[in-house]
Symmetry: C2
C-alpha cells in the first residue's frame, strides 16, 4: 500500500486564492489590493496566482460569482419550502432586499465589487438572474397548480415579478432609493410588501 | 403717446440662453461646449450669460427641467383624457417608454444630460416624479370611483405602479436592459404591456 500526499486540486487552490483575495478586498479595498499582495498572503509567487486567474478582475469575477451563489441558494431554499406561493413570494422579496441592503450598508466594498462586476462580467450576473427566474417560476407554477393563482404562463409571470421588483434588488437602484429618494430601509421593506401584494393580487386574478 | 422698446424679460432671456445652449449641447456635446461658445452664439458676453445662470451645470438643469416638463405634459394629457383607467395606464406606460427610448437612441447627448442631472440636480427629477405620481394617482382614483378597480388608497397604488415600472423609464435601467440584457425596443414594449396587465389585474382585485 503506497501513501501519496495529493497536491491540492486546481479547484481547491482557486478557492483558497479567492478566500484570501476576498479578505484583502474587504479590508484594503479592491483598488488598493494588488495581485502581489494576494500572493504574499498566500505564500505564493504572483506568477503562480496568475496560473489560476488571468487578472485581478478575474478574481473579482470568481468572488462575485460565489457571493451571488450564496444569495441564490438562500432564495432557492425559500422557493422549495412549504407554505403558500403568496407567502413564499413575499419571503423571497424580503430576503433579497435584506441581502442587498446588508451588502450596501455593512459591506460597502463588496457592494462596489458587485457593481463593478455588473459592468465587466455580465456572464456571472446573467447566471444569477437565470437562477432567480427559475425559482420564481417554480413558486408561481406551484401557486397555479394549487389554484391559489389563476392559470397562466408561470415563466412569463416570473419575468414580470422580477422586472417589477428590480428596484429593490438592483445595487444602483437601491443606492438611488436610499440616497436620492431618502427612503429608509424599513420604508423600502414596506414599499416592497405593497408592491408584492399588488403583484400577487394580479396573479390571483390573472392578467389575460 | 410714447413708444418704448421694452427690454426682454429676464425669463425670456433665460429661455433664449437655454435654447441656444441646448442646440450646442446637442451638436457639440455637453462636455465640449463652453459658456463662452454659448455667449458667442447669442452675441452676448460670457459675463452676461453668468448674470442669468451661475454655471454651465445650471444651464443643464434648466434644459433638463424643460425636457422633463414636456414629457410630463404629454403624460398629463393622457391621464386627463377619456377612456378606461386601464387603457390610460397602458398608454401612460407606453408613452413614457417611447419618450425614454427616443432620448436614448436618437438624442444620446440629451440622454447623457438627463443622467448627469440625476446626479447633480435631483430637485428637477424630484419635481418630475411628483407630477408623475399625481397623474397616476388621478387615473387610479378614477378607476376606483368608476368601479373598474377595487376601492383602496389611490396614492399608494400610484407609488407601487411607479416603482414597479421604473425599469422602463429610468435612463440607467433602460440602457442596461438594452445593452446587457439585449432586449429590443419591441420586446421591452411587450414586457411593459405584460407588467402593466399584471398590475392592472392587481388593482382590479385589490391587494388588501
Amino acid at each position: 500500500m503506497s501513501i501519496t500526499t495529493a497536491a491540492p486540486s486546481a479547484e481547491a487552490t482557486r478557492a483558497r486564492i479567492a478566500d484570501v483575495a476576498e479578505q484583502l478586498f474587504r479590508t484594503m479595498g479592491y483598488q488598493k489590493t494588488a495581485v502581489a499582495d494576494i500572493a504574499r498572503e498566500l505564500g505564493m509567487s504572483p506568477a503562480n496566482v496568475y496560473r489560476f486567474f488571468a487578472s485581478k478582475s478575474a478574481i473579482n469575477e470568481a468572488i462575485t460569482a460565489r457571493l451571488l451563489d450564496s444569495v441564490a441558494v438562500k432564495l432557492e431554499r425559500i422557493a422549495e419550502a412549504d407554505g403558500s406561493a403568496e407567502a413564499r413570494l413575499h419571503a423571497i422579496g424580503q430576503e433579497l432586499l435584506s441581502s442587498s441592503m446588508s451588502l450596501f450598508f455593512h459591506e460597502k466594498r463588496m457592494h462596489d465589487m458587485v457593481s463593478a462586476a455588473m459592468g465587466e462580467h455580465w456572464g456571472v450576473i446573467h447566471t444569477y438572474i437565470g437562477r432567480f427566474i427559475t425559482l420564481l417560476t417554480r413558486v408561481i407554477a406551484d401557486g397555479m397548480a394549487a389554484g391559489e393563482f389563476a392559470p397562466g404562463d408561470a415563466a412569463a409571470g416570473a419575468q414580470v415579478v422580477k422586472a417589477c421588483t428590480m428596484i429593490w434588488h438592483h445595487p444602483a437602484m437601491l443606492a438611488e432609493c436610499m440616497q436620492n429618494m431618502e427612503r429608509t430601509p424599513s420604508e423600502m421593506s414596506g414599499d416592497l410588501t405593497q408592491a408584492m401584494a399588488l403583484l400577487v393580487a394580479g396573479l390571483k386574478r390573472g392578467s389575460r
